[in-house]
Every structure is written in structure tokens, then in C-alpha cells.
Assembly symmetry: C2
Amino acid sequence: MIIHLLPLFNSKRIVLASGSPRRQEALRNIGLKFEVVVSKFAEDLDKQSFASPAAYCLETASRKCAEVWARLREEQRSADIVISADTVVVLDGRVLEKPSSPADAERMLRELSGRDHDVYTGVCIRVRTPAGGSDEGTVRQFTERTTVTFAELSPEAVRAYVATGSPLDKAGGYGIQDGGGSSFIKGIVGDYWNVTGIPVHHLCAELAGLAPLL
Amino acid sequence: MIIHLLPLFNSKRIVLASGSPRRQEALRNIGLKFEVVVSKFAEDLDKQSFASPAAYCLETASRKCAEVWARLREEQRSADIVISADTVVVLDGRVLEKPSSPADAERMLRELSGRDHDVYTGVCIRVRTPAGGSDEGTVRQFTERTTVTFAELSPEAVRAYVATGSPLDKAGGYGIQDGGGSSFIKGIVGDYWNVTGIPVHHLCAELAGLAPLL
């Protein structure tokens, strides 16, 4: 959706406010050039105070974006565009975080086994307003949902996957792109990239809509 | 599904009868060790003679597998397991091949724009039968369907994508994993890996079922 607009976007200073290697890979894959400035926002919002997991991850993404935007302005190195994202895995309305231990990862995977769950990513894009606009720029934010169907997993498969170490740094205890995730998942409904951490199509559509402001 | 069975599978001689880098990557990703022996089957079956595109790609996969299986036996270097696959992109019941030219790729992408289409992969697995079995081994074959929803594409986006060269060696004129495909596709229903050329979950489930025969 922005492939023909890459010369325009790549003439701007774009910052990705995320340390996730999978998000960086997805953006590089579409041909965007960007700098990484990891947000210092504590990611400690109270989940219970939000109407839904989608609202929770959208607010986290929004705070990450605002923190990086403000810090760069303060340091006199404002970006033209800051992109942030937050991804949550949701089973029965409950958010599954990153596992706290290998045993916790096994427990999560046993819960996901043989069932559907939802993955939501909240995305926030902040764009520098043309001369005369506010310092806060123009903000676009949205969430994207992908439903993921897990096969029934044997205890042996779960143990072997957790032993690879891959589940330990991933929300919900799996990576759709790794050897375990790719073999455990029967199918999805929605954008694959959303499950890896960034909804590429929706992001590109929003960026294309912002192009006239640049 | 086979992550805990990898020591068993990797003690066998596995051959992938496909030169596709994307299929090789998917199998390496699940931890399988294998050799590549590209099939010499001409892939010239008459599509019209099959009841469906699924039946057509399954028969092509089956012939690829049989050719490699027989050739290796002839050369006295029989494999324990041969895996083959064939993938087709189907719009309105019509198979879209690899584009014959950049103009043909643009035409295909304009056809896919704003619509759903199906991707079918036929997979054939041939396993060496234990002592006393037939020389032909045991065969498992199946097809997997994934439905892909394209966004509306502007002529500029189509032209810019075709200019990257990526569409030219891909059935249907796109790669779901590249910069164009990942930004053009709103979502899918089914296995993502199936669209890249191999249905990883279903393949692993079939292999797990064959483990007792090894």
C-alpha cells in the first residue's frame, strides 16, 4: 500500500519505538528505513481499568509513542514519524503475558492447546505537523485482531518446545514464526504479521493516508 | 507436533523433492534435517482433466514424489522419507500460474485486487516400508486450503511492486512474505505457511502419525 510511496517516506526521519526484532524485521521487509528508539514507558497500566484487552494495548502503545516523541523533542532531535505498538495474547478475555518461568510457559501452552485465542496489537503513529501545527503532531491509532487456532498439543511436544527457550520471551508463550508455533497452529483468521507484533497491512494503509500531511 | 520426535526423524534420511527456498526454510524452521533432490517431473498435467485445482496440485505433488523416490532407488541411494509439494493460486476456480512477463504480473495483481482467492498446496509423503513391505513404501497425501484477502491496490502500487522483480517467479504474481505481499494482504483464513508453499501444521501432524512406521 505504500510501496510506491517509499521514496517519500524514506526522505523522512522515521523512528520505531520498539526493541522487538520481529517488528523491526517486518518494517524492513516493506522497505521502510527507520531508526529504533526503545520507549522508556514502564508498561505498567492497570489492565482492570480498561474496558477490553484491545483498549489496554492501544493505550500502552499510545504512551510508548508519546514518551519517545517527547524525549526526542527535548533532545532537539525530533522525528518526522514515530511508530509504536503493543501486542497482547487474549484467552477467554484474559491477557496472557510473557511467561515468568519454563513451568509458567508450559502452563500457558497447555491452556492454549486445542483452542482459539485472539491476538491484539495496538498501534500508534505520530506525525510531525506542518509549520503552524501543534508540537504534539498528528496522531493515528488503531487496534487489529487476529484469531489463532491451536492444535491439541501433547505434553511431550509442549515440554520439548519450552526446552528450546523460544517461548520464554514471548507473550502467550509462543512465537507463530518459530518451529514450535508454526507446527502447533492449525490456522489463523486475520493478518499473520499482527501475531508477530505489527499489523503490516493496516499500518501501511494508515501511513498511506498520512502521506499528504508529510 | 513433531518437535519432540525430531531425534527420531533426524536419524532418518529425509529428502525434500522441491527447489523452493521458501519450503526449505519452513522445514529448517521446524528443525528437520533433510537433503534437497529437485524433481524432474515435467509438471505438465492437463488441468482440465481434474475435477478441481486441489486435485490437480495433489496429483502434481504425487508425481514429483514418485519420480524422486524411484530415481533414488535406481541410484541405490533410497531415502527413508520423501516429501513433495505443489502450490496453486486459484481465483474464480481458475489457476493462476507464475506470470510470463512484468505486464502479465500486473494483470494478475489487478485481478486479485480487492478480492478473496484460495491457495491450495498438495503434499505427498512417501515413507520406506519396514522389512517385508513393498518397494513403493507407504504414501500419505493431502491438500490444504488458505483463503487470502487482498486490499484494493492502486495502479501505482502494483507497478512499484512488479518493478521489484519479486512477483515474477511466484504463482499468482505475489509472495505473502515479501514487502508487497505483506502490505497488500488484509488477512487470511487458514495456515500462513501454506501460502508460502508448505502447510507446516498439517505436514507435521501427518509426519507424527507416520512415526510408528519408522
